[in-house]
């Protein structure tokens, strides 16, 4: 196995350009090292941890910029994230054990592109973008287009994630991230649901509703039809229940050792409803009525 510790992004992407599919990027290594032990070693390992200045959380022009090498634990303990992106904070907080959170990076979570990746549904709902470096230059890839399938992103074999840019949601908006797993945070999510609700001026109607679903399709997805059913409407109980059913119908989960597809759909419905209820309660201080 060839092994490199590039010191700059330029050096890293030129290695990826040279080795193509034969190269594997390693950041925290919590996914890659397990694969290397139990599947196979890559022909070339590109360890990006020695590239300086890639672990940071910065507020800039209405966005939070998070370096790809930022550990999940840094996100969890960041007061800016907790204040301004509570949805992302919640997913970092529910992410595996402390030991894993100290090692795993957010860039690795995104590039792994696991449908159950903890931070993905929240980032999708927050309409984040991935800033990726290729040998020809940089591209900003919206999360809504980034994921192609399990383990597959627009970065391909030659792109390197440098930064995640998260626009700060409107101050009146409130959200929730709900994870269903057997062993709580330690476990991979059976279903993860991220909800973000922005009320209109009067606080009666939902100006904007975003619903992200994790672990129930080949990629994390937005439940677009459910969102549409709620947008601009007064949040009444029957409508919220209907939207939750629509969200479940938009998911296409698989059956595996963790649970059956039918069970997952049922959990999507329940968590979406709860997420909407919680978010609305946080927005208005009241329960949804009617």
């Amino acid at each position: 196995m060839d092994y490199f510790e590039p010191k700059t992004l330029r050096e890293a992407v030129s290695l990826l350009a040279r080795y193509g599919e034969k190269a594997k990027v390693i950041a925290g290594g919590t996914d890659v090292l397990v694969d290397m032990k139990f599947k196979e070693e890559p022909l070339c390992l590109v360890n990006i941890k020695r590239i300086p200045g890639m672990s940071y959380i910065r507020e800039e022009k209405g966005s939070l910029r998070i370096g790809a090498l930022t550990p999940i634990r840094e996100i969890e303990t960041s007061s800016v994230v907790r204040q301004k992106l509570p949805l992302l904070w919640e997913s970092a907080h529910q992410f595996a054990s402390l030991q894993i959170r100290n090692t795993a990076t957010i860039g690795g979570n995104v590039c792994r592109a696991s449908p159950s990746g903890e931070t993905l549904a929240p980032l999708l709902v927050l309409e984040a973008s991935a800033v990726a470096r290729f040998s020809k230059g940089e591209k900003k890839l919206p999360f809504t287009e980034l994921f192609l399938g399990p383990g597959k992103t627009l970065l391909g074999a030659k792109g390197l994630l440098r930064e995640i840019e998260v626009p700060l949601p409107s101050k009146e908006s409130r959200g929730a991230y709900l994870k269903h797993a057997v062993r709580g945070a330690m476990d991979i999510a059976m279903v993860g649901v991220a909800v973000l609700v922005t009320p209109d001026g009067g606080g009666k109607k939902a100006r904007d509703v975003r619903i992200g679903l994790g672990a129930v399709a080949p990629t994390p997805i937005r439940a677009k039809r459910a969102e549409k059913a709620l947008r601009g409407k007064a949040m009444a109980r029957a409508l919220v229940e209907e939207a939750a059913r629509i969200a479940a119908s938009e998911s296409s989960p698989i059956s595996d050792q963790r649970s059956s597809a039918e069970y997952r759909r049922w959990i999507v419905e329940t968590l979406t409803r709860r997420g909407l209820e919680q978010s609305w309660r946080a927005v208005t201080g009241k329960e949804i009525d009617g």
């Binding site: 092994y3 290594g29 402390l98 894993i100 330690m186």
Partner: protein, 166 residues
């Protein structure tokens, strides 16, 4: 292909030639002989291999040894001072929070890290701190007791025992 690394383990400097795919756990146990970090699941699930990496608890089985170049590592062997056990170790013995013992070095390191972060942990903080450590024997109750006793012990002392090293 191999590479040369230098690092500090329990205050002792080491240099070694390693394979780049080697895990920090295999490196500590097999190359340097620190057998206190235990190998169990080898996939980051159980916490038996927990060590401090620049003061923070990590599962050494899912960390590259290469990433430890220039770092300071602490294993359970590094906690006793001059033949005196660390208060966390002593509390585990005093409460008999140990049965087969295999998981214990990992717990001790997680708890040491917790008490380095806060002298007065809440029950939630205690639970969070050891949620990545699995014990198949004790049922955890006595482990939680031990953590509370160790915390009280460290509050009572000058705090030097744990602070001096981190």
């Amino acid at each position: 292909m191999s590479l040369n690394i230098r690092l500090v383990v329990n205050g002792t400097r080491h240099r070694a030639k390693i394979e780049p795919s080697l895990s920090l756990l295999d490196f500590l146990r097999d190359t340097l002989g620190y057998k206190g970090a235990k190998i169990c699941c080898n996939t980051g699930e159980c916490g038996a291999c927990t060590v401090l990496f620049n003061g923070k608890p990590v599962n050494s089985c899912v960390v590259l040894a290469a990433d430890a170049a220039g770092a300071e590592i602490v294993t359970v062997e590094g906690l006793a001072e001059g033949g005196r056990l660390h208060p966390v170790q002593q509390a585990f013995i005093d409460t008999a929070a140990v049965q087969c013992g295999y998981c214990i070095p990992g717990f001790i390191i997680s708890v040491k890290a917790l008490l380095d972060r806060t002298k007065n942990p809440t029950p939630e903080e205690i639970e969070e701190a050891v949620s990545g450590n699995i014990c198949r024997c004790t049922g955890y109750t006595k482990i939680i007791d031990a953590i509370q006793i160790a915390a009280r012990q460290l509050q009572g002392s000058t705090g030097l025992t744990s602070k001096a090293r981190s």
